[in-house]
Symmetry: C2
Subunit: 211 residues, 2 copies
């Protein structure tokens, strides 16, 4: 019943721990998950490796990918393009791996429209104060940046209803197991087992003829 | 996120192992599941204890329960009434337990119509031959009865599409874990977390005012 993988969008506030969660899922279940790596036309930042956080490509190549229908979704932020390449995702899904895609609300909606069998997960800290503490605790950003992120969280929260599942990330291990459990369960949904249902329906009909 | 229990309908072919599966779930997770016991107007069979497989009640009492809206669903087979009492189910759901209800397609549809948040599970053996072998292997029924059951399975199979999840019961322990995983995951569905979503939405708005 677990033939094909499930495309899984992970969204959530900055500071919700999406990256850590995805890393943990891949560590724990390397055979069952794969990470979708986006393409972007922006310049790599210090220390960014091509193919790790992003594939860095030219605007020409990006336009070509759009024209060739090679992207599941794409968007433009501050004059830079970001997109999800279709080929890698399809390959991993066919291998039976659930493909994790970290993306924001608008992208999530585009992916769901293109592929309605996508599972949309929204990851959130238990409450707003925890979110704030985590962003401050990182110690990597100025208070100005933190406040911008918090203001943005308020906006992102408005889209929470558009997701399939809401997962609270309080304890990382528990959250990882919960997400894994969600993906495992999704494999049993009626819609994902049309072939098996058809097979059993046909198979049991032989008892009618024999009766 | 696991405040209220989930009403869970378990259907499937005779011989699919529904009873064993439910028993195993209750043994493994006694704090998380409760069994809904139906009321019936039929006479108890040899060895049947009131309150175990059924509550045995009079036709007058049953009519009273219908009139008083005390049943989630009810049906009449061969001049006997069978129904699911509402009060017990509500009590257990409020305690946070998932309530298991073994019932057939028509009853399942009635329950889902009355309570759209019900989860419908269909349990099936991996294939028709396994189903046949299991029914024969029991050694408790004549071949005539077995053939009637198999012919009935062919009819029941037509309703499989109406369920939310399809679970193959090949290995009991694995099947038990899969069903448990499905119920655990259902608790994270957006529709079951409207209060939490509303709380977080409101909570993070304070960062907008503060910005």
């Amino acid at each position: 019943m677990k033939n094909k993988g499930i495309l899984t969008v992970i969204s959530g506030f900055s500071g919700a721990g999406k990256g850590t969660l995805m890393k943990r899922l891949l560590e724990r279940y390397p055979e069952e998950y794969a990470l979708s790596v986006s393409v972007t036309t922006r310049q790599p930042r210090q220390g960014e490796v091509d193919g790790a956080s992003y594939f860095f490509i030219t605007k020409e190549r990006f336009q070509e990918m759009i024209a060739g229908d090679e992207l599941i979704e794409y968007a433009c932020y501050v004059d830079n393009y970001y997109g999800t390449p279709k080929e890698y995702v399809e390959k991993k899904l066919a291998e039976g791996k659930n493909v994790l895609l970290e993306i924001e609300l608008q992208g999530a909606m585009k992916v769901k429209a293109a592929r309605p069998d996508t599972v949309l997960l929204f990851v959130t800290p238990p409450d707003a104060d925890t979110l704030r503490e985590r962003l401050i605790g990182r110690g990597t950003e100025t208070m100005e940046v933190i406040e911008k992120r918090l203001a943005r969280a308020a906006q992102e929260a408005l889209g929470m209803d558009s997701y399939d599942y809401l997962v609270v990330n309080d304890d990382l291990e528990e959250c990882t197991e919960n997400v894994h459990s969600i993906l495992l369960s999704e494999h049993f949904r009626k819609e994902r087992n049309a072939d098996l249902i058809q097979h059993i329906k046909t198979d049991v009909q032989k008892f009618v003829k024999g009766a």
